[in-house]
């Protein structure tokens, strides 16, 4: 049994993190507006540039809802195609990214419901596919610490996976570093206060399942 303290493992994990991406919310530049106008006029290359600018955050959003990379990539493509079709109706009441993420979230939830029905028929229960732990990278530390860190990550990941969908979705979106609480509120059509409560509640429940 390992004697490495949890705090040290956590410190290793935190130092291994890549820097979080800065959000583009609130500063939709003139260049982006130009791309949006061109794409709205039918310029596919301009829309391709918008895809490149937003593909990462869209994919992460879909993955937060689905937990499966394959499904998330499918939903990402579908969301971009829907955005292309609906772009002439985009009035700029929110940023393009928020509008796009709202489409993505709806598509992801549709996929999740369909998958749940399929899984229920197949397995005869309400179990869902969990997140693949392959998305968790190995921390760069000595073998013993790496093993304990891996074990701890698995525990935390399992605890997050065991949350209710509402709590899990909100926690994953909030901790992704891509969204503000206001953006999550718009995507989930839920008040900001409720979003904050869900994040706190999710952390509390996950913490209960961890060793001291």
């Amino acid at each position: 049994m390992s004697t490495v303290p949890v705090t040290a493992i956590a410190a290793d994990l935190l130092t291994a993190l890549p820097p979080a991406d800065a959000s583009a919310e609130g500063r939709e530049s003139a260049d982006i507006r130009t791309l949006i106008d061109a794409a709205r006029a039918g310029d596919r290359e301009a829309f391709g540039d918008l895809v490149v600018l937003n593909e990462r955050v869209v994919l992460r959003t879909a993955l937060a809802a689905l937990g499966s990379r394959e499904d998330a990539e499918d939903v990402t493509q579908e969301a971009f195609l829907v955005a292309w079709q609906k772009l002439p109706g985009f009035r700029g009441e929110s940023t393009f990214r928020t509008w796009l993420l709202t489409i993505t979230w709806r598509k992801a939830l549709d996929r999740r419901r369909a998958r749940r029905r399929w899984w229920t028929r197949l397995a005869g229960n309400h179990a869902e596919e969990g997140f693949s732990l392959d998305v968790l990278p190995e921390p760069a530390a000595d073998p013993e610490r790496a093993a304990v860190a891996r074990d701890l990550s698995v525990r935390v990941s399992a605890a997050i996976n065991g949350l209710t969908p509402k709590l899990r979705d909100t926690l994953l979106l909030a901790t992704s570093g891509e969204f503000s609480y206001e953006q999550i509120s718009q995507m989930l059509s839920t008040p900001v206060g409720t979003i904050k409560w869900r994040v706190a509640e999710a952390r509390r429940i996950v913490k209960l399942g961890l060793p001291e």
Partner: protein
């Protein structure tokens, strides 16, 4: 520290790199957008369908309304010079136009048909009435004779002329 760990693991769970060919795949699948006016096509088609159905419904009801209105019998009988034979087709026009729901008056029994055959020629052969035929005789009233009124004088006895004088 534990909360940081939770947030970190949660962040890693969605920390993925998009496939390199995603842009090309999306652009390759971009289809033509439907023209803006196409959005109105279903609505216009629905409106046209409703209008057509309403028109057909009104058109079906119109003949029924005409036939259910009774023809005034007086209008045919007041014409004194109209022959009875001419009245027969006039009554036939009251038959409703709808074929699915014929009115019962259209069906004439054999007895009534036989009666018509007998009665209509008889009616046609009847002499026409003229105004002279129904002219009443002039009244003969004896002249009134006025005589002057004769009034007789009223004789009143003077008061106290009575011998008894009592009241």
């Amino acid at each position: 520290m534990t909360e940081h760990l939770i947030d970190d693991v949660a962040r890693r769970m969605t920390n993925v790199t998009p496939p390199a060919e995603l842009r090309a795949r999306v652009v390759a699948r971009l289809g033509d957008r439907p023209a803006p006016w196409r959005a109105w096509v279903p609505l216009a088609a629905a409106a046209a369908l409703v209008t057509a159905v309403a028109g057909v419904s009104v058109a079906r009801r119109a003949p029924q309304l005409r036939t259910t209105t009774p023809l005034p019998a007086v209008s045919q009988t007041t014409a004194g010079n109209m022959s009875a034979a001419a009245q027969v087709p006039a009554t036939a026009t009251a038959v409703p136009a709808r074929k699915k729901h014929p009115i019962k008056s259209e069906a004439i029994s054999a007895a009534e048909a036989a009666w018509r055959v007998r009665a209509i020629p008889a009616i046609a052969a009847a002499p026409l009435l003229t105004a002279d035929d129904i002219q009443p005789q002039s009244l003969s009233v004896p002249l009134l004779e006025l005589k002057p009124l004769v009034t007789l004088p009223v004789i009143v006895a003077p008061i106290g002329a009575d011998a008894s004088g009592g009241r």
